[in-house]
């Protein structure tokens, strides 16, 4: 892979923000405290999210791939985001499009797979990774060296879709600092720009997904109150609506629609949609089949059902936030599809105010992601900015009769966790099947199944005696992990949850190895470099913590921590990645109790309405504050 060679080890790594969009993708970074999008050598900022697999093995991404689409409709994947985290039998695969799908063999993961150039088969994760590699190279051209990335995802993406996005980043060799919800990223870009407090709605109609988010901005904290949407609704659907109309007018029946024709008509539909923003009507030419007139009024009739679907999600989000439209401070427009005049009119009517669109709706998400990357990499100036997000869909477990028991309701603040206890249904039952689902419907079959697993080795007991505890945890990326424990015997089983869709860890690792020139040895060098950075970072953080809260140390603790620091520093100078790893873990264990005490202090201070950073600046003042205030917190 030539792209890795651009990497300049002496340059300072710079964090980036990536908007991996349905139609277009782009990358941004923060320069002189302002986010800017990075252009390619042709000065274009938007990279079309289109990938062509040529029969000679070459992979082409972006504008050039778009140009190849008419000639190679089957080998050119556009709007791949709509297929992320989807099963091979997903309804999305049956919509109007030029692709050939491969059905999974028994035992293979249930993931969408495209058949492209010369019998090659690719998954949406691999296609997305190609786009990410190009964006990374574009950033490296500009910044010499790229640090971690914040990658945005639609707020309404479920766990499988988020996981697929993270897998794509891993495959593209990008360190993911955070998966960030697109509307939250847009709000961050606006908030940093305008510095105005209040409740905002973000209406994000992209190429393939729709999100609405209601959030409160106060003193630099962006707190998401509710979110809603549809992960398969966007500008693409407007194109399809036009394409169906054109095909119907031209008298095509489905059987005669070749991949070439479908690709061409979809492309013309998109062009017509863009033209109708400034024109009352357009002529669309289908070579060999005549010319067709499309008026703006007819277009607006065609897309009315799409707008109605967004309206339903908006009304529900307002209700979930406990707000009326009149209470909003502003409405922010995001996504290229919000350029359509009918969309703006609809949004204005829905929220009873003119929406804001002063930051380019195509760029705003990437700009927000760059700001967040800057904050997370610790180079951001503003300590005050914090994004508090939620889960978009309820998480639950299927219980008897196919009914869902909701364990975490939608709009719960993340990170979060919840426990639920279940029991056996039959005498002597030794296994327990658990199905994890995501969605709002009462019946399991109507929701998305995220994972299925069986807990084995339960002692044979009468029905209802064995007790099983299932724990869900959702991290700040919105990603779920599940653990189960049998409580009667106290035997804990950590279960590797096999995802219902997408790839398991081993597959991603194998694909990564295949992408590297020297496989194993490259990977080992990479690991060593990563562990070294990690060791230095943790030793630095430990020294800072020791300096700030020396009064929290117990007798002998300081010596142990300092020794562990010295070991980690020494092994980081060596060449054995597993030694570095082991010493990092030892340092981790040595600081555990100290870290706990530091967090207790931070909590007391937060409850008192004080700020932690103020304490780090004046250690003297902090001394004894825990003892002085602890009783009041009871």
């Amino acid at each position: 892979m030539a792209l890795f060679e651009i990497f300049d080890p002496k340059a300072e790594p710079r964090p980036i923000g990536i908007d991996l969009g349905t139609t277009n993708s782009l990358v941004a970074y923060v320069a002189n405290e302002r986010p800017v999008a990075i252009a390619d050598c042709d000065l274009a900022v938007l990279v079309p999210s289109v990938v062509t697999y040529l029969s000679n093995g070459d992979v082409v991404v972006g504008r050039r791939a778009m140009g190849l689409a008419a000639e190679h409709p089957r080998d050119t994947i556009a709007s791949v985001k709509r297929f992320m985290g989807r099963g091979a039998d997903d309804p999305e695969t049956r919509r109007l499009g030029p692709y050939e799908f491969v059905a999974p063999q028994p035992g293979e993961p249930n993931s969408v797979r495209f058949r492209v150039g010369e019998g090659r088969v690719v998954t949406p994760v691999e296609v997305s990774a190609e786009i990410l590699r190009v964006l990374k190279a574009q950033a490296e051209d500009k910044l010499r060296r790229v640090g971690g990335a914040v990658i945005t995802v639609p707020a309404y993406f479920d766990d499988a879709q988020r996981q697929a996005t993270k897998d794509a980043a891993r495959l593209a060799d990008l360190e993911v600092l955070r998966l960030l919800n697109e509307p939250t990223a847009a709000a961050l870009a606006y908030g940093v720009e305008k510095k105005q407090d209040g409740v905002f709605a973000v209406y994000d109609l992209g190429g393939g997904t729709f999100d609405v988010t209601i959030l409160l901005l106060e003193h630099g904290v962006f707190q998401v109150r509710s979110t809603g949407g549809d992960s398969q609704l966007g500008g693409d659907d407007m194109d399809r609506a036009i394409a169906h109309e054109l095909l119907r007018s031209a008298g095509f029946v489905e059987a005669r629609q070749t991949a070439h024709l479908v690709r061409r008509v979809l492309d013309q539909a998109r062009v017509a949609k863009h033209q109708l923003t400034d024109h009352e009507g357009v002529q669309v030419e289908i070579p060999g089949h005549g010319s067709f007139e499309l008026s703006r009024a007819r277009f607006e009739t065609l897309i009315a059902p799409i707008l109605e679907r967004t309206g339903t999600a908006c009304r529900r989000a307002l209700k979930d936030a406990g707000l009326q439209a009149e209470e909003l401070e502003g409405v922010i427009l995001v996504g290229g599809a919000t350029r359509v005049p009918a969309v703006r009119r609809y949004v204005a009517g829905l929220f009873k105010r003119e929406p804001l669109a002063d930051i380019d709706p195509d760029e705003v998400v990437a700009l927000g992601a760059a700001l967040q990357a800057d904050l997370l990499a610790g180079v951001g100036r503003s300590d005050d900015v914090l994004l508090l997000d939620v889960i978009p869909l309820s998480l639950g477990i299927e219980v008897g009769g196919g009914v869902v028991d909701k364990v975490l309701p939608r709009n719960s603040a993340i990170p979060c966790a919840a426990r639920a206890t279940y029991t056996t249904q039959e005498d002597g039952q030794t296994g327990f099947e658990i199905q994890v689902v995501q969605g709002e419907r009462e019946l399991s079959a109507d929701n998305r199944s995220l994972a299925k697993f069986t807990l084995k080795g339960i002692p044979p007991l009468p029905a209802g005696m064995a007790r099983l505890e299932v724990m869900f945890q959702v991290d700040a990326d919105g990603l779920l992990s599940v653990h189960a424990k049998e409580l009667t015997t106290g035997i804990e089983q950590r279960i590797a949850v096999k995802p219902s869709y997408g790839l398991d860890d081993a597959t991603v690792e194998r694909m990564l190895l295949e992408a590297l020139d020297h496989g194993e040895s490259d990977l080992k060098l990479r690991r060593l470099a990563e562990h070294r950075v990690e060791a230095h970072r943790i030793v630095e953080a430990t020294k800072k913590a020791l300096a700030a809260d020396a009064d929290l140390l117990e007798a002998g603790e300081l010596a142990k921590i300092e020794e562990a620091c010295a070991r980690a520093t020494a092994s980081a100078a060596g060449t054995d990645p597993s030694r570095v790893r082991a010493d990092i873990e030892a340092l981790d264990a040595a600081t555990k109790a100290f870290a706990g005490r530091r967090m207790d202090r931070a909590i007391v201070l937060a409850i008192q309405g004080r700020r932690v950073d103020a304490v780090e600046k004046s250690v003297e003042h902090a001394k004894g504050i825990e003892a002085a205030h602890a009783p009041e917190t009871r």
């Binding site: 990499a377 914090l386 990170p415 979060c416 966790a417 700040a476 870290a595 967090m599 409850i607 700020r611």
Partner: protein
């Protein structure tokens, strides 16, 4: 777990939601993973565990039903529908009638009728919450289970209203 202690507020049914929001925000500032990217690994984990606990406490305390359950548990009273006493037959009859009326209004596509029914139930839920507040302040416990049970019925009723409204506009 005591969600009230986690948030540093008194164990009371009466809460000051806006003050609580501020506390939640300050705790998040101290604990959210984004604030600990450069921290010691042990501290990242400690902060995460506590951030999760704070969010759980916040979820419980904000919700009138979960808040009542938490207070009852802290007073040694078991909660959960299989442990609570059955509602009075008159109440059940009345709820059944209300729900039938709701079904009729939904079937007749009568949004005003649905809204009126929902408003009446919302008023009753607010009254039940006031009763709970008074009861908890007086130190009562198991005698409040009836009110809690009512709140559960009202919530299910209002969920059904929401579903119907989504359906209608969708």
């Amino acid at each position: 777990m005591d969600p009230f202690a986690t948030l540093g507020i008194p164990r009371s049914y009466e809460i000051d939601l806006s003050a609580l929001e501020k506390t939640h925000r300050e705790l998040s500032r101290a604990l959210h993973p984004d604030r600990h990217v450069g921290s010691m690994a042990s501290e990242r984990r400690e902060a995460l565990a506590r951030a999760i606990e704070v969010n759980e406490a916040w979820r419980i305390v904000r919700d009138p039903i979960r808040r009542a359950e938490a207070l009852l548990l802290l007073r040694g009273v078991g909660v959960g529908e299989d442990r609570e006493p059955q509602a009075a037959p008159e109440f059940l009859m009345e709820m059944l009638e209300q729900r039938e009326e709701l079904s009729r209004s939904i079937a007749a596509r009568d949004p005003d009728g649905v809204r009126k029914l929902a408003e009446a139930i919302r008023a009753r839920a607010a009254e039940a919450e006031r009763e709970l507040s008074r009861g908890f302040a007086k130190g009562e416990a198991s005698s409040l289970l009836g009110r809690l049970g009512e709140l559960r019925f009202y919530r299910r009723f209002l969920d059904e209203v929401s579903a119907a409204e989504d359906e209608r506009t969708g």
